[in-house]
């Protein structure tokens, strides 16, 4: 079997919740050996967050946890205990990367700050993932997916002008910032391996959103250039058409047929006479009062005669940029992603086989492989403590009684 991209990389993962574990999931799924450290008792917070298998809120049945922790090994450890700190230092000797997402200052208080750990392992890459970074006035602020998006992202421009701004779906922002943390970690790892230098990466979810390309970065720059704030706007009022979400026979679809794409609109609708219609055939013509209403009076009835996938197929054939508004069932059943082998079927001792989202990046030579499902809590205590660090089973019993593992 082709070796994975990160097969020789070892990661010590002290992270929890969503963003940082998604970072280490990406590393684990592309081959890294990741040891996840969970606090004894409750374990990672996401073990207690839904959705749950058969709606049973059990710490081994969280779909979110199962997804975020594939390919990782789990040990339980109270890292605040003296023995816990000692074990972390022992594990650090033999890893390439340490990822943590405690509140800033916690690692220092535990005596596990980068300066200390670097003395144990000079080439260590340590990625500290926090809401607002390790320095600055908001360092200790608490946050959520919504708050990170509102402060960092372009939420201020999302929504209708006279209403509250709107967020992205689910916890999308925590996932995308987590994937950027994996990128930051890989850049630091590359430096570490090519220049023999360790790195401490200060990763802030807030700043990660500040550079989000759609559309915070350009809104910021538009402000710097022109001193104008981008307002919330009603997507139905955008300057050119056809653009945006449209109703159709069985739901909604979304298209962009603006500018140079215009001739494709007439083709898509089977109305070639539209192509040269002077009311619509240039952006300037489209901007004239009343033309939008006249166009949609033709377009909407056409759209309602077709299903979303009929619209999308006709649109794509005519060179129009478009897609359906899929719900999860439609997405899972879509033939394209099935044909590409996107979905992963993963067996797990408690839930059995389930379909999970698959690889974000497909490459034959650095494959995305599920070597093991998400770990049970402390599943690898014996393997890591006895097998890797040389403690005895008797030691483990004592530590368990002391609630250290």
């Amino acid at each position: 079997m082709e070796e994975q991209a990160l097969s020789d990389i070892k990661v010590l993962d002290l992270s929890w919740h969503i963003a940082a574990p998604y970072c280490t999931k990406l590393l684990a799924d592309y081959g890294a050996d990741v040891i996840k450290v969970e606090r004894p008792g409750d374990g990672d917070l996401t073990r207690h967050m839904g959705p749950f298998f058969k709606d049973d809120p059990h710490p081994e049945k969280s779909g979110l946890f199962l997804h975020l922790n594939t390919n990782k090994k789990s040990i339980t450890l109270n890292i605040k205990s003296d023995w816990g700190k000692k074990v972390i230092k022992e594990l650090v000797q033999d890893v390439d990367i340490l990822v943590e997402s405690f509140r800033p200052g916690v690692m220092q208080r535990l005596g596990l700050d980068y300066e200390t750990l670097q003395q144990i392992n000079s080439g260590l890459v340590m990625t500290s993932i926090s809401n607002f970074g390790q320095t600055g006035p908001y360092r200790d602020f608490k946050a959520s997916d919504l708050i990170i998006y509102g402060m960092g992202g372009s939420m201020n421009t999302c929504g209708l002008p006279d209403r509250e701004p709107t967020k992205k779906a689910l916890t999308a922002v925590l996932f995308s910032t987590g994937s950027m943390a994996a990128l930051a970690t890989m850049l630091a790892l590359y430096a570490a391996k090519t220049q023999e230098v360790g790195q401490h990466v200060d990763f802030s979810l807030f700043e990660a959103q500040m550079v989000s390309i759609d559309r915070r970065m350009s809104d910021l720059l538009a402000y710097a250039y022109n001193n104008e704030i981008t307002p919330k706007e009603d997507p139905r009022d955008l300057y050119a058409f056809p653009y945006g979400i449209q109703p159709c026979a069985d739901g909604h679809w979304e298209l962009s047929g603006i500018g140079a794409l215009w001739p494709g609109v007439g083709k898509m609708m089977g109305m070639p006479e539209l192509i040269d219609d002077p009311r619509f055939n240039t952006i300037i013509a489209q901007l004239q009062p009343g033309h939008r209403e006249e166009f949609y009076a033709i377009f909407i009835p056409w759209s309602f005669e077709h299903t979303k996938m009929e619209c999308v197929k006709l649109g794509q054939e005519a060179g129009i940029l478009c897609g359906p508004l899929y719900n999860m069932e439609e997405l899972l059943n879509d033939p394209h992603f099935q044909a590409r082998g996107f979905w992963a079927e993963i067996d797990h001792p408690v839930t059995g086989k389930l379909t999970y989202p698959g690889r974000p990046i497909h490459a034959e030579m650095m494959r995305w492989v599920i070597r093991r499902p998400a770990p049970l809590m402390g599943e690898h205590n014996e393997e890591i403590y006895c097998g890797r660090l040389g403690y005895t089973r008797e030691d483990l019993i004592k530590l368990k009684q002391a609630r250290i593992i």
Partner: protein, 449 residues
């Protein structure tokens, strides 16, 4: 102190619109020599604007799509001042060649031969049509890493589908889950998630391949479908369907995981003065908002921060389940309080008590924000057609490699001399002849749309 991680790595960049250029932005930021190969004979819609020499009406129309409008709009350089392009084009180089001619193609292959990575984000038809597929290029440079990141990947029934982030997000199930619960989906925002994710994922893919190459010496081909990179980020929705057969529905600003949460209106504000930004500050009154998330354990601190108001002692709000049940009513109480304060004030009052709260930051807030200033987030760059401005900077820091923005957003063909003469070693005569044939230049050749 260490060098930038990617110093010495050369990347050929044939990316378009947003996601692809965003991927190469990260690589350029961290030291790679990213050379954009652009075509004067083909104006790619949305990459450097919506049209060549756009008229005044269009430039004025939308802020986020705008060009630099000050001190005076210069349509002939609009492709160098398009805001969306200039946001990601820092630290990159640009050369021009018409790849639709054998001569242009030969130049392109000579570039590939002396480069480490090739990134493109076009529909697969483009690389097939131009004859720059992996099968061809791996013969030119066996150690090459090639990242193709079209919307739907290199295989499957939608291989040739073309889509922007908007349409990809629709396929990926995200759009269905966004927006107001009580409004029609046609009101859902035009700001999307997938460009961001695909750009980050593309850069991550290149880094993993580079890491593997420094170990094994092998190049490789990466087939990244932009939609696929974002689907794993909808995990709760996917897993609830595969575990329970349930179709997740949109929730507005509410929390999927059951905290009390919302976006609340605060006192209206007047434009604030921002140092470092040219011109007069805007003076219109604008609405302002704060986001608050209250988990079960945050409740006592939240009540304390508000001075334990009467309503908070209502038995309806006595426990978390009951609070969730009366979420709408709670929102009204919360907003009555936030309306009396500036949004920054609300954030500080709540954060002082340890309650998660944050302003909905507009661009003006961001440039004035004390935290971003203290962390040196904005960097000053001077661009020949736009002047000197503060640009959004680097999203993360490395302790042993201090870094900041180095080069301003690249103008079309700005580095033709360097790339032609120094990178691929073209003679002065040949350079002139390529210029005469229209390959080399700093503007677009007028063309039919």
């Amino acid at each position: 102190m260490a060098r930038l991680p990617l110093e010495g790595i050369r990347i050929i960049d044939l990316t378009v619109i947003w996601a692809g250029p965003y991927a190469t932005m990260f690589l350029a930021d961290w030291g790679a020599e990213v050379i954009r190969v652009e075509n004067r004979q083909h104006f790619q819609l949305f990459t450097r604007g919506v049209m060549i020499n756009p008229p005044e009406e269009l430039i004025k129309e939308r802020v986020g799509y705008a060009c630099n409008k000050k001190p005076g709009h210069k349509p002939e350089v609009a492709h160098n001042t398009f805001v969306i392009f200039n946001a990601h084009a820092r630290n990159k180089l640009s050369m021009t060649a018409n790849l639709r001619t054998p001569e242009g193609l030969d130049i392109f292959k000579r570039l590939i031969k002396v480069s480490d990575v090739f990134v493109e984000s076009n529909s697969p038809r483009v690389k097939e049509h131009l004859g720059i597929t992996w099968e061809v290029l791996k013969e030119v440079n066996p150690k090459l890493i090639m990242l193709s990141m079209p919307g739907f990947g290199d295989t499957g029934p939608y291989k040739y589908y073309r889509a922007l982030g908007a349409h990809q997000e629709g396929f990926g199930g995200h759009t269905y889950l966004r927006g107001y619960v009580d409004e029609d989906p046609t009101t859902t925002t035009t700001v999307y998630h997938t460009d961001e994710v695909a750009g980050i994922s593309g850069a991550l893919a290149v880094m993993m391949a580079l890491y593997k190459r420094q170990r094994t010496g092998e190049g490789q081909y990466i087939d990244m479908a932009q939609v696929e990179s974002s689907i794993p980020q909808m995990a709760q929705g996917v897993m609830d369907y595969t575990m329970n057969g349930r179709i997740t529905e949109k929730m507005g600003n509410r929390d999927y995981h059951g905290a009390i949460q919302g976006s609340y209106r605060c006192k209206d504000v007047r434009g604030r003065w921002v140092p470092g930004v040219q011109g007069e500050p805007p003076q219109e009154i604008v609405d302002s908002w704060v986001n608050i998330t209250i988990t079960e354990s945050d409740w006592p601190a939240f009540c304390r921060a508000l001075g334990n108001p009467e309503w908070s002692r209502d038995p309806k709000f006595a426990d978390h389940l009951s609070r969730l049940k009366h979420h709408d009513e709670m929102d009204k109480h919360i907003e009555q309080w936030t309306r009396q304060h500036d949004n920054y004030e609300v954030m500080h009052i709540l954060q002082r008590e340890g309650v998660p709260a944050g302003v909905v930051m507009d661009e003006q807030d961001a440039y004035a924000d004390p935290h971003l200033r203290a962390r040196g987030f904005f960097n000053e760059l001077t661009h020949a057609d736009c002047g000197t401005h503060l640009y959004p900077g680097l999203p993360f820091k490395m302790s042993n490699t201090p870094n900041s923005l180095r080069r301003p957003p690249v103008r079309l063909g700005e580095h033709n001399e360097y790339v032609y003469k120094e990178v691929i070693g073209v003679s002065d005569e040949k350079y002139q002849s390529l210029k005469d044939k229209g390959h080399i230049g700093t503007d677009y050749v007028p063309q039919e749309p």
